[in-house]
Symmetry: C2
Subunit: 389 residues, 2 copies
Amino acid sequence: MAEMKNLENWKDMPIPAPRDDEYQDIAWGLKKCAAGQKFEPFLINRAKVGEMDVKVDMHYCGICHTDVHIGLNHLGGSMYPMVPGHELAGVVTEVGAKVTKVKVGDKVGIGCLCDACMDCGACKCGDEQYCEKGGWCHIYNDTKKYGHIGGNPDTQTFGGYSGSHVLHEHFIIKMPENLPLEQAAPLLCAGITMYDPMKHWGATKGDKKMCIGIIGVGGLGTMGIKMAAAMGHRVVAISQSPTKEAMAKEKGATAFVVSTDAASMKAEEAKCDLILNTVAAPHQAAHYLSLLAQGGTLVQLGVFAEPHQISQMPLIVQRKAVAGSLIGGIANTEEMLEFCSKHNILPDCQTVEANQIDWVWEQLSTSNKDGLRYVIDIKKSRENKDFTV
Amino acid sequence: MAEMKNLENWKDMPIPAPRDDEYQDIAWGLKKCAAGQKFEPFLINRAKVGEMDVKVDMHYCGICHTDVHIGLNHLGGSMYPMVPGHELAGVVTEVGAKVTKVKVGDKVGIGCLCDACMDCGACKCGDEQYCEKGGWCHIYNDTKKYGHIGGNPDTQTFGGYSGSHVLHEHFIIKMPENLPLEQAAPLLCAGITMYDPMKHWGATKGDKKMCIGIIGVGGLGTMGIKMAAAMGHRVVAISQSPTKEAMAKEKGATAFVVSTDAASMKAEEAKCDLILNTVAAPHQAAHYLSLLAQGGTLVQLGVFAEPHQISQMPLIVQRKAVAGSLIGGIANTEEMLEFCSKHNILPDCQTVEANQIDWVWEQLSTSNKDGLRYVIDIKKSRENKDFTV
């Protein structure tokens, strides 16, 4: 698979023996940060169900490009063993005594957000991902900082490349009945990452047809194209690769811009009210400012650390803005799933098994030429006795 | 006065003889871009009043820091002879046959905006400064590109360091009766530059008390502090100079941050919903992002060309934005004047005569330690026979 390179700055957090308030279940993860490290099956501990908790039997888990960044320690400080996965879809098998949100047998999802303070201004208005107390708690590679996750409080969080999960009902996402679980899973990250900024910057109000630019025609980008088109907006797909035009238009793009071609850029100059930039590789955001209409906003979505060179005069003379956005809160995630259900918007998925994760990460590290989201079939993976414990 | 340094890239546009549809009047300006150039009195041509036009007898004209940037050719391409001045206040002395907006004897103002297409989306919604057809027409150092300004169409626009002006009624700003003209003049640039972004980013709705940061405690900054305080918001003044704390608080700031002091910055971390940055000298905008609360916007207002180094992760993790804003439209300028009239907000002004402009520009080029706006008394200047023609 894609090689681990940042081998110095990582945390070794071995899994302790399960406590009385924990059970063990299968997971597929990375045991340490080392050259040649590959995915392995091993047992992790999950909390037994508390009075506010919901237990989910995992059916599918999407593989996101962010998993690769965090799993390969690109940003430094990753914790191992690591079990990635923040696009979880399954069925409720047990609920705590005080749970009212879901019941046994319900189809549900879990996304990036597994905990937050639930008390600050951001949490109270449904933006738990921007929790002001100490930031959100990510479903993997994070500490149990807010106390709503049961079991041993000193262990790291483990994600969805695993057999089951147990969380406070607030972070369990209700799934519309007609959404197939394997295709709904990627919506929990890719879908909400595109939907939430569209909602925040006015695209879901329905009172105004906008022109929305989407930079990058990969897994996130194609999802954004489908959503923006379903909202009735004009959609401009923007990519370095002319080869992606046909796919972008097939997904719903009205126009296609080759970002390295001056004439192609000029043709869509000052057209976009909102641009969602999905690029997670080195680039200069200022390159796209000319595509923004007066008053428009360029929203950066990708994990990418180096600074952009941004001059203020182009922002001033047409009141433009450069902003960022991070997934979305629980309520908006449920709203997004309803929207996708209503408009029959589903990602283009390829189902894989756990023993193919290394291969998928290699694909995501090079180029996602087909705009596919890869989804692990957890049930089927469990049946492969050569790759379980 | 402050020295001209960029002596190569400028346009020589001598003033032709007046046409039949023009009259001549006194102005004080810069005849060319040359070392040692100082302000001189000379005659310029103004259009005679057409059916939609209003003639204004100039009483006062504010001196803005931007005048210095454009007058000294800091950005290149300036046109000479130049008559600066975009904070004009006077009295109507003649109106065209079809004028309905004002009448002879009315107190009026003219700001930066002297023309726009009046037909695009931005113009129609009152944001003429963002005219989408070809940008706004600036009251000086611009071409008569939209045809609403009469007289010789091939001559440059001349600003308010002059005896009178004639413009289409749309660009004539109604002045509340109780505002003293000499103090109202600077509101037409400094006032609207601060008010318009406050309105755009929600500070004038009255439904929510915000925390507003103001970077730079000069002429613009003190104006912003007074307005934000009058709106009932918590105001954080931010400056490199600890010596400005007393003045900032006297103008209405609740808190004061010394931007070069880490502990002072930390004390206001994540507090500001909106920050208006008035700094027009080299700086790094990213330095102030830590002061923004979740969802906050940093708005750049100053003329300053070099790029900022901005990383996207701080924007993403708390949905922050970096934007720009340029003065404001005619309707919002009139609203701002009403607001200032109601709340008795006036800039701290020092009145000067035309023969002191060189000295004022020198003050503005170094440090505006008192947060003063300088205003030329045009009537008095005309009486000085040693400095007229």
